[in-house]
């Protein structure tokens, strides 16, 4: 089969799924709708595999498939095609999207079986997959932007899926608008590149990236990449635009797994990796990215410690893990960033689905204070969730360990790195270990606090199978990118497959030299040890000795309150940005429009009216007055004539 056909099927199948389920949106059968939706994604998955196999067969530095369906916009020098670019990076990305996406679709069949809008749900999910594919495969920034906005739209629709609840609808709206702020920055980034480079084609841009590093802040590449990164902070929930992601948990849980953990939110990371030559050329931008990433890691992780909603904990965890990816990008470890993107997609999707299974089993309860001891009711969920937990806290041998540790090492070692970034990263890792263990303890272990009326039950097989697959991936997913230092001590010295695969398209930052193995081992040991300590601490506090933690939070109550209220960032944004804008708008309307512009026009009208009524008073209807005017006029006219 030729590539165009495969790519066409790849796109057409979720699009068809969207349309079919959209048309039968009033049907309530979860099985039919789910079958259509899942099948559509499965076909895409198969296509992705086919494409990936085709790429395998090509020479390493010629691995690319370019499919162009025709021109979209062609004006003057602006030429944008419906063109799609499949190479090492995007082929892997679509594998993750369609693969994980398929599993989540499968899971949704069970999860959404009681919902009346199930057909609509699957149609939105397929719509999302379609747009995500456009985002990933688009060969120009504009096509990428199409998918970029499209996934935002899908996310809007899915977060507000249960729109009869005003708060959920508001969460969707918030997500879209906050994303739009990022999108506006992204647009400006595109403009900058178009005006200076004359193209928006990603490959052309990458090939035009200057080889000399830009040291100023106002250079073209620096500004352009900064604005693009601004777009990424919106989509990938980084400081300062991360606030929408926790609220986005209002959507159905599988949506949170797919969109707000595994795929869409990683779009920003993907975009940066995609454009890595440009970002490398802008050290200042990279520094900003690294700093924002590291700060986000710590900020989100610290908020995660004090959350009581199972999905909110995972949401902040997602923000924090995305921070790691940006940290990796910022220090020039693009392969590692993608590696973490991938492992994170596995274990975070797993944990979200696991939490979905818990919520399903608890009949909608999301508060972990009302859980506990669920291990015996939900054994399979517990087991798979534990795999995710082990992966995210960085247990050696699990996928998260390899990727996270590589990031930490690079943040220390890379010429663009700094020891402070490493410190922030390790603090984040320690906190991650703490809050994830806390989540495990409060949900699955310890004493049961489940309400007597509730009878938690294990989920059906369609929901468990995706969990098993993802759990397996979370465990072994890391072996595609074993760091060199570990591979050296392993038998057979397995190569870093991922790095090798990406070799031709991902540049490394200049000045990167091989590190000191002793140092690397030392840092790795330090971070693992700290994570272990905090895991044990959390276990002690939440399972063995629950009263201690209560006393502790009592003691530091103001701080605890501040953290559990998310540092009041939402309130700050509302108080200092949103509300003033609304007030300003009201005042603009009341004062400028109504009281000023309209008043001015009334004044003009009144002036006319006034002069009119003066002239009117001259015409008093009295014949003799008129005659008088004639007489006076005559006299005046005559005297003028005579005086000349």
């Amino acid at each position: 089969m030729d590539h165009t056909a495969i790519v066409s099927v790849l796109f057409a199948s979720p699009l068809l799924g969207f349309l079919i389920n959209g048309i039968r949106r009033n049907h309530h059968s979860a099985n039919v709708a789910g079958a259509i939706g899942s099948l559509a994604v499965f076909i895409s998955f198969v296509c992705s595999i086919l494409l990936w196999i085709d790429l395998q067969g090509m020479a390493p530095d010629a691995r690319r498939i370019h499919v162009v369906y025709g021109s979209w916009m062609a004006i003057e020098s602006l030429k944008i095609d419906f063109g799609f670019w499949i190479d090492q990076l995007s082929s892997l990305m679509i594998l993750i999207i369609t693969g994980v996406g398929f599993l989540i679709h499968l899971f949704s069949v069970g999860y959404m079986s009681h919902d009346k809008g199930v057909a609509k749900y699957f149609s939105y999910l397929n719509f999302f997959i379609f747009n995500m594919l456009v985002l990933v495969l688009g060969d120009s920034l504009v096509t990428l932007f199409v998918g970029w906005e499209g996934v935002g739209l899908a996310s809007y629709l899915l977060i507000g899926f249960w729109f009869t609840d005003g708060e959920k609808a508001a969460a969707g709206m918030k997500a879209f608008i906050v994303n739009r702020i990022g999108d506006a920055a992204f647009l400006i980034g595109m403009f900058i590149f178009f005006v200076s480079f004359g193209t928006l084609n990603i490959q052309e841009l990458n090939s035009m990236a200057p080889t000399i590093m830009e040291s100023t802040w106002f250079g073209i590449v620096t500004l352009g990449t900064l604005f693009l990164f601004g777009g990424a902070t919106g989509k990938s929930a980084q400081i300062p635009l991360y606030i929408w992601l926790p609220d986005a948990m209002a959507g159905p849980t599988p949506v949170s797994a797919l969109i707000h953990a595994a795929t869409m939110v990683t779009a920003g990371v993907y975009m940066i990796v995609r454009l890595n030559p440009l970002f490398i050329a802008a050290p200042n931008t990279m520094m900003v990215i690294a700093v924002i990433g590291a700060l986000t890691v710590v900020l989100a992780a610290s908020i995660g410690i004090a959350q009581n909603d199972i999905k909110k904990v995972l949401a902040y965890s997602t923000v924090s893990q995305l921070g790691y990816m940006f940290l990796a990008c910022g220090v020039g470890a693009f392969t590692t960033a993608f590696f973490h993107l991938m492992t994170h997609a596995f274990f975070k999707a797993l944990m979200f689905l696991g939490s979905g299974s818990v919520i399903h089993g608890m009949e909608g309860e999301q508060d972990i204070r009302k859980m506990g001891g669920l291990k015996k009711y939900l054994p399979w969920t517990h087991l798979t969730f534990m795999m995710g937990w082990l992966a995210i806290i960085g247990t050696p041998g699990f996928s998260g360990f390899f990727s996270k540790d590589e990031i930490l090492w690079m943040s220390f070692h890379s010429p663009r790195g700094h020891w402070a970034l490493w410190v922030l990263g390790v603090i984040g890792a320690t906190m991650t270990a703490f809050y994830m263990t806390r989540l495990m303890c409060l949900t699955f272990w310890g004493k049961s606090r489940v309400a007597k009326t509730l009878h938690p039950h294990e989920s059906p097989a369609t929901m468990l199978i995706p969990l098993f697959v993802l759990a397996a991936l979370s465990v072994v997913g890391g072996y595609v990118g074993i760091p060199h230092i570990i591979s050296e001590i392993l038998p057979g010295h397995p190569a870093n497959i991922l790095e090798h695969w990406f070799q031709p398209i991902i540049k490394t930052v200049p000045g990167l030299v091989a590190g000191d193995p002793a140092m690397e081992w030392g840092l790795m040991g330090a971070s693992v040890a700290l994570a272990l300590i905090s895991t044990i601490l959390a276990y002690q506090l939440y399972v063995k000795n629950p009263s201690a933690i209560e006393r502790f939070t009592q003691k530091i109550n103001p701080i605890y309150q501040l953290v559990s209220k998310k540092y009041l960032v939402d309130e700050l944004y509302f108080g200092f940005i949103v509300n003033p804008i609304v007030r300003l708008s009201e005042n603009l309307w009341a004062y400028i429009d109504v009281r000023f512009i309209d008043k001015c026009t009334y004044w003009a009208g009144d002036l006319m009216k006034g002069s009119g009524s003066f002239v009117r008073s001259l015409q008093n209807g009295n014949l003799q007055t008129y005659a008088m005017y004639i007489g006076i006029g005559l006299v005046v006219a005559l005297s003028l004539v005579m005086m000349r």
């Binding site: 916009m73 400006i188 900058i192 603009l588």
Partner: protein, 506 residues
């Protein structure tokens, strides 16, 4: 004769309707007429040659010999799509008025068709006096439309509308007459042909406001600015929209506002190139202010229709910025955005009209939870909303993207400020949607005595063409842009001394 037929066919329709004996069949007859008119308009696709920038299908007859006033019609790439837009909207508007206009149906349709004539004439006239006649003629039917079939404060609104636009266009009349005298000085005989105006070289002194070209420039620009409407001359628009009946709003937003922006391209830019360049900053600034201001004020409107009216101010701001930035991308973008705005905002007004017919309220706070009561309506409303906030693959994106890209190329700061409109646009539309469609059912929606009925076949038939156009224009912009390409290119390349040649004439 194609253009004359196109312009005066509606007059014929109006006469037939005036004399039509049965009142009950007026609606279908009028609808049939408008469809016939639309189909006739399609012949332009065959007759018009998009590859040349010349003035085409010209009709030229002397009208008043003494003053050189001619009956002079022509079409080029700039006006081509606006003509199509005008005839495209007509059947949909008439279909949308099926239920909402219930008094004096005959009068309404006569007004409507005369309005069509006036608008088409404005787009096609190439003689200043003829143009002025059509320009002013368009006011009268609209005045009656709002004044007779409008809402509670219709008299206030219609007077405001009339006086604002009239005040602007009087200045233009003075300028036209003055320019006719200039032609007499230059060529010996007086002429009001636009092509002769183009040949004039009007002295321009940059720093002096009271120089000839600057004054003439402002006389024209102000008249058009009122129509667009450019901030701060926009206050007639929200009132006119709120009080106008649905068809009136659609014509107003869909076509009449474009008369202003179109005339900038046809009259102001080519006639006064130096003054345009010198004073462009004012218009770009006002355009940018309009984008942001319109969006902000739209956000806090309690009335859905007023919200959309203010959003028009914002959208028209983009077009103005695009025109005055004056490069290829931005001009094409502006032309495209004119069509987009006609389609999206037109559809929004029709949708709001449909809602109003059901509940007789446009207060946002009376709604809520409409999505579960009117699912099909909601789907349409959201598609149009996404088009209005420029989600990619809908028409709105192409226009805004081109304008912003072109603007960034010329004046980065203007583009950066304008981009905030993208965010604010999403904010006001989605906030409104959230309050109207989502959440708890509001008092109007939950009213058990008057359950809301979802769209009927007629209403779906009205909306489907809009939705189709939204996606076609979003997916295949090249198809549309190619018809205006040659003319825009020519305008850009010859901006210093723009002269149009008539196709076929040597």
């Amino acid at each position: 004769m194609i253009l004359s037929t196109l312009i005066f066919l509606p007059v014929l329709f109006a006469i037939v309707i005036a004399l039509w004996p049965q009142k009950s069949t007026i609606r279908p007859i009028a609808l049939g007429f408008s469809i016939a008119h639309f189909i006739f308009g399609l012949t332009l696709f065959r007759e018009f040659d998009p590859n040349i920038a010349d003035l085409q299908l010209v009709e030229k007859y002397m009208w008043m010999e003494r003053f050189g006033i001619q009956y002079f019609l022509g079409i080029d790439g700039i006006s081509f799509w606006l003509i199509q837009l005008t005839v495209f909207l007509a059947p949909l508007i008439l279909l949308a008025s099926w239920k909402s206009i219930d008094k004096n149906i005959r009068g309404f349709h006569i007004c409507f068709f005369i309005l069509q004539t006036a608008m088409l004439g404005t787009f096609l006239a190439f003689d200043a006096i003829l143009f002025y006649v059509f320009w002013e003629l368009s006011l009268i039917p609209m005045y009656f439309m709002i004044g007779i079939w409008g809402g509670a404060r219709r008299i206030y609104a219609t007077l405001k509308f009339f006086i604002f636009t009239m005040a602007g266009s009087l200045l233009m009349l003075v300028a036209i007459i003055y320019m006719m005298f200039l032609t007499q000085q230059a060529f010996g005989t007086m002429s009001s042909s636009l092509l002769d105006f183009y040949k004039l070289s009007i002295p321009f002194i940059g720093h002096e406001f009271f120089s000839m070209q600057t004054l003439l420039f402002f006389a024209f620009a102000l008249a058009f600015a009122v129509k667009v409407p450019l901030f701060p001359l926009h206050t007639w628009l929200p009132d006119a929209h709120v009080e106008a009946p649905t068809p009136g709003s659609v014509v107003l937003a869909g076509v009449m506002l474009k008369m202003g922006t179109y005339c900038y391209l046809r009259w102001v830019l080519p006639l006064f190139p130096e003054a345009t360049e010198y004073w462009a900053w004012i218009f770009i600034m006002l355009g940018v202010i309009g984008i942001i201001y319109g969006a902000l004020v739209a956000m806090v409107q309690p009335d859905i229709k007023k919200l959309v009216a203010y959003s028009s101010v914002s959208h028209m701001g983009y077009i103005i910025v695009g025109i005055f930035v004056f490069n290829h991308l931005s001009l094409q973008g502006s032309l495209y955005q004119m069509l987009n705005h006609g389609i999206s905002t037109g559809a929004l007004f029709i949708l709001i009209g449909m809602l109003y017919e059901r509940t007789h309220s446009r207060e946002i706070k009376h709604y809520g939870g409409l999505a579960s009561a009117l699912p099909i309506y909601t789907i349409f409303f959201f598609i149009v909303t996404f088009s209005s906030i420029a989600v990619p693959l809908t028409n709105g994106f192409v226009g805004e993207f081109l304008i912003l890209l072109g603007t960034y190329k010329a004046i980065p700061m203007a583009a950066i400020f304008s981009v905030t409109g993208v965010v604010l646009g999403a904010a006001y539309m989605l906030w409104m949607c959230k309050r109207v469609f989502f959440g708890e059912k509001g008092p109007l929606v939950a009213d058990a005595h008057h359950p809301l009925v979802d769209l009927n076949a007629r209403e779906i038939v009205i909306l489907v063409p809009f939705v189709i156009m939204i996606f076609i224009m979003g997916l295949f912009p090249n198809v549309f842009l190619k018809w205006s390409e040659a003319s825009v290119d020519y305008l850009i390349k010859n901006k210093a001394n723009y002269e149009l040649t008539i196709k076929g004439a040597k």
